[in-house]
């Protein structure tokens, strides 16, 4: 032991678990677990791909009890999980949320809460002040006025309730992040939302915005026409992105360079790193919250989270694409860093794992054109001199925008878009 004593040095090392490796060797089977506590929501946002009415008794009756959630949290902790993300629907609709929250924290899990802030009570804010979640709360703020908020959330009291909730977070010194969505009713409010985030003491940095919207993940299609009508085309995407300035083109270039290369028949590039899993409101394990294809989910009632992570998930990861159109296009397409095509998008749009989604394909090609990687109308999967193009792109890196001004960022499964 003489060789390892550290007299005069620090024994305890501070670690930001999201920024640094905690483990000298290996990694636990599960690092982060997403739990959808309910699909119900007190808002009815026009673009939401999950929500059910708050009073949906059937959904409520099927939801996992707090004990079942607690059992899953215990399993997650035993698997080495560090962070649990509670999402929905609106997770605070659950009357037992405080019990679930405390259970997670007492197991040594950090809690990442996704909420619309409308149901944050003085009691809950006080609890989170005493027992902090250790992750900034992520608050969706869809509209900075009663009118725009009402148009998006279709809940006339959402604006005022969210304002009260945000005030409670500020009052209790709880860090949070503001997220917006660029919808017809809110596209003119970017500056207001940024101003709001700046004014609120606990808010961290610039808000992020959803810009490209997913279809319903349950494929309960009645609302899909509305979501489709809210989608912007490639030209408008570039125009809106232009607000972000040259930094965004740099970001697109970096993404295109870092994640270039066709994936052939491999479907699950996103799961290559592993370490994450999801559980829906009814106790069904999913690879990610957007992917509910029957081949990629398993009911935890008949098995354990460990089995799901270590036996089931590798089988899902090994699934291969078979669709001819996919193999001829996506399988040969090197725009991996820009395109949002993935099995979850294919599932929502087509009910399959491997069908090209034209919408995301169009957006990715527009981005590639904007950074000079593709000529107008050119299809990435048909390009023969790709290495030379990447080389040219790399030589442009840091030299400012080639065309226009655009902004955007591919993020964690969704379409988060940062101005």
């Amino acid at each position: 032991m003489g060789g390892v004593t550290m007299a005069g040095k620090s024994y305890a090392v501070r670690v930001r678990s999201d920024r640094a490796r905690l483990w000298a060797t290996g990694r636990p089977p599960l690092v982060r677990l997403d739990i959808e506590l309910t699909e119900r929501c007190n808002n009815d946002c026009v673009h939401c791909n999950v929500n059910l009415p708050a009073g949906d008794r059937t959904a409520r009756g099927r939801e996992m009890t707090a004990d079942v959630v607690g059992g899953i949290l215990e399993e997650a902790a035993a698997l080495g999980c560090l962070t649990v993300r509670f999402t929905g629907g609106e997770p605070l609709l659950r009357e037992d949320f405080e019990d679930i929250y405390l259970r997670a924290r007492k197991l040594g899990l950090k809690v990442l809460l996704f909420t619309n802030a409308t149901l944050i009570s003085p009691r809950l804010a006080g609890l989170m002040k005493r027992i902090p979640p250790l992750e900034p709360i992520e608050v969706s703020v869809y509209g900075t006025s009663e009118k725009s908020s009402g148009a998006v959330t279709r809940n006339p009291v959402a604006f005022e309730a969210a304002r009260r909730g945000l005030a409670l977070l500020v009052e209790n010194g709880l860090p949070f992040v503001v997220k917006g969505a660029l919808l017809p009713a809110t596209r003119g409010e970017v500056e207001e939302l940024e101003g709001l985030a700046r004014r609120l003491a606990g808010a961290d940095g610039t808000p992020s915005y959803s810009l490209l919207f997913d279809l319903r993940s349950r494929r309960d299609g009645a609302k899909n026409d509305l979501i489709r009508s809210l989608r912007i085309g490639p030209a408008e995407f570039l125009a809106i992105s232009a607000r972000g300035g040259p930094a965004v083109l740099e970001e697109w270039r970096a993404l295109a360079l870092e994640f270039s290369g066709a994936c052939g028949d491999r479907l699950f590039d996103c799961l290559a790193a592993g370490g994450t899993g999801s559980v829906d409101a009814y106790g069904v394990f999913q690879c990610c919250l957007g992917l509910r294809h029957p081949e990629t989910v398993c009911d935890l009632e008949g098995g354990s989270l460990r089995e799901a992570m270590t036996v089931f998930l590798p089988k899902v990861r090994a699934l291969r694409a078979a669709d001819r159109g996919y193999l001829e296009r996506c399988g040969r397409c090197p725009l991996k860093g820009l395109c949002h095509q993935c099995p979850a998008k294919s599932w929502a749009e087509h009910g399959t794992l491997d069908t090209p989604v034209e919408y995301f394909c169009g957006i990715a090609h527009a981005q590639a054109e904007a950074i000079g990687l593709l000529a107008a109308g050119e299809k990435a999967w048909g390009v023969r001199d790709w290495p030379a193009r990447l080389e040219r792109l790399a030589s442009h890196k840091g030299s400012g925008p080639k065309t226009g001004r655009a902004a955007g960022k591919k993020a964690d499964g969704g379409l988060s878009w940062k101005i």
Partner: protein
């Protein structure tokens, strides 16, 4: 601060943290606010710290822990006593351990 650690006292994890062993690492997760230096940070221990931590059961005195480690690792007890006190001082400052009756 090390001098404030009583050699004849027993220390153990405080109720304001959750200590976990993950893949061989001891990870200290703050539970209550005001633990540690900044919100959102976890703590791991170096090799020496881990060996000491595993003996902090709230009943063993500092001297006893140092003596046990001295035998296990064939190192002088005074060196190990300084290490135990050093770790405890760091953790006490961050409210991660407490003196136990």
């Amino acid at each position: 601060m090390e001098d404030l650690i009583k050699r004849d006292a027993a220390y153990g994890p405080s109720g304001d943290i959750v200590a976990r062993e993950i893949e061989g690492e001891v990870v200290i997760v703050p539970l209550a606010s005001g633990v540690g230096d900044m919100e959102g940070e976890l703590y791991t221990l170096n090799e020496t710290g881990r060996a000491i931590w595993r003996k902090l059961d709230g009943t063993k005195k500092v001297r006893e822990i140092a003596a046990e480690l001295s035998e296990e690792f064939e190192a002088p007890p005074e060196v190990l006593e300084a290490d135990v006190a050093g770790l405890l001082a760091e953790l006490l400052k961050r409210k991660m351990v407490a003196e136990k009756e």
